[in-house]
Symmetry: C2
Subunit: 345 residues, 2 copies
Amino acid sequence: MTLGCPYGTHRVLEPKGVFPQPALRLNNDFSILYDNEILIEVEILNIDSASFTQIKHQADGDPAKIADILLKTVAQRGKQHNPVTGSGGMLVGKIKAIGSALQQRPIQVGDPIATLVSLSLTPLRIDDIIAVHKETEQVEIRGEAVLFESGIYAKLPSDLPQKLALAVLDVAGAPAQTAKIVKPGDTVVVIGGGGKSGLLCLHEACKRTGVTGKVIGLSHSAAGIERMKKSGLPVIPLQGDARDALWVLHQIERLTEGRLADLTINVVNIPQTELGSILATKNRGIVYFFSMATSFTAAALGAEGIGKDLTMLVGNGYTEGHAEIALEVLRENLHLRQLYERTYA
Amino acid sequence: MTLGCPYGTHRVLEPKGVFPQPALRLNNDFSILYDNEILIEVEILNIDSASFTQIKHQADGDPAKIADILLKTVAQRGKQHNPVTGSGGMLVGKIKAIGSALQQRPIQVGDPIATLVSLSLTPLRIDDIIAVHKETEQVEIRGEAVLFESGIYAKLPSDLPQKLALAVLDVAGAPAQTAKIVKPGDTVVVIGGGGKSGLLCLHEACKRTGVTGKVIGLSHSAAGIERMKKSGLPVIPLQGDARDALWVLHQIERLTEGRLADLTINVVNIPQTELGSILATKNRGIVYFFSMATSFTAAALGAEGIGKDLTMLVGNGYTEGHAEIALEVLRENLHLRQLYERTYA
């Protein structure tokens, strides 16, 4: 057997010399495995929310057409890397083989795991699509995938149902980063607070800012507002359109006596919410863009355009301990766990 | 007269309700001025580097075609907002009129100023294009523009030539942010270090990290390497292709005894350098993306894809004191001033 590149460049077919994520096509022939690869028998694909929204729209909401689009993408690219949004998602499966160079890892063939790297860089072969679950953005398949040596993953916890854990792990980066950034007494705005990632962020924001802080959750839909109210968290719910930047500014001014937010976390899966996020935040504050629909230039030029001196962060889906932090939210907050089970799992 | 929105939404024609930057079309009829607007007689457009590179490519390098593209964009959009790159640039001119609500400002009609907000949100009318300077990415025109109440600007300093000051102010954000982030002893990598913005960043990086630090400048071209060498700064020059992420990793490992960079600043105006920037940086380090060619998803998924826990920042063109910091570089470093005068002004 042979040792592949830790970052998986040995699986890149086109263009040569790039990494698996920006690559146009990966080699998904798993009849030859490298010594530092893990082969996974895939059970569920958890499509990234921006990607699933785009695919659902393109398919006019038809599950069969959604399946066709997924099959076509994977056949063409050797990975579920949405060519429109550029994003992926993650998967759950059972370990089928562990390369000889990774035998010291605390995992065994048969272990249920979730990959915590994006599907946009994970070699994948789909043999069959069993079911498309539009409400959870999860797709049951038969197929195989490979995890590279640098690829992060989590063994699925035994005290939480698999689909539930997967839904949480998919968005684990945002609540973990929230936990690390929010300081006691901070005013925090979560744009997209009623969504899958937003609810976990709201939990961490409330917990870390504490009784001297203020947490505002913005959601476009009545359902999102309802979920925030049912979360058991001391969140101020705000319903409206985050793309209407002036409206966002006026509402956050009203709710903070003109002081604005110390930290704004954007986890909403629609474009053109950059300026609203910037306007919601005070000078020298922080905006954390976690939405894959974020436009780099809209953010950069938006802040400059209104002469606002703030720190803007690109959401990193990985931070140390992110899986543990995110899964723990569901153990700490029974209301959220119930909401999650009803809505996303 | 009437008061416009401080952010200039009163000039947005299409689509209604958005801010001037994301707008498709602005009202550039300056026969009616609002009370909180400043009218400028424009002399020079300093096109954003990513935008100029794209336009030059589209025009096959022909100055007349470049002029046509600029005229067409401004006729269609009422602003020099490159529809491909999404970026703008800045302008220099003389103040022609000051709205009654801004009379307390320390400026007078006739003052030479540079706008420090992007052209992508500045209402502009071009009457004539006098000359296209490909080497400096500056375009001499006759025309008018309007600055909104929130729009930042700088009076041009009397001890520096106008074109020189403009070239510096155009990229003032990056060196000022560098000055604020670099700590003594840091290892700093500047990707695009031989360029207009990169040279100023190198100066600030060397100054702030001091004798216990290390500063590496990466440039694709021999000319860029030559400029770094002539800058008089204790920079380690590195020539190569920043899109080749693995090559970047191996070189930065070699130059830092495997420790990698505490801070990587990306100011190179070409796409697909996100992963190289991430790989050059140590775990828990910082990557500062200043290039308008940065892809948000490539950065976000790139870090996650290799399981790297680092802070990624969206370059904010504005930070307090940025014009003063950047202009001061040319007073502190005579070598850089001479280089700048020869190359960019």
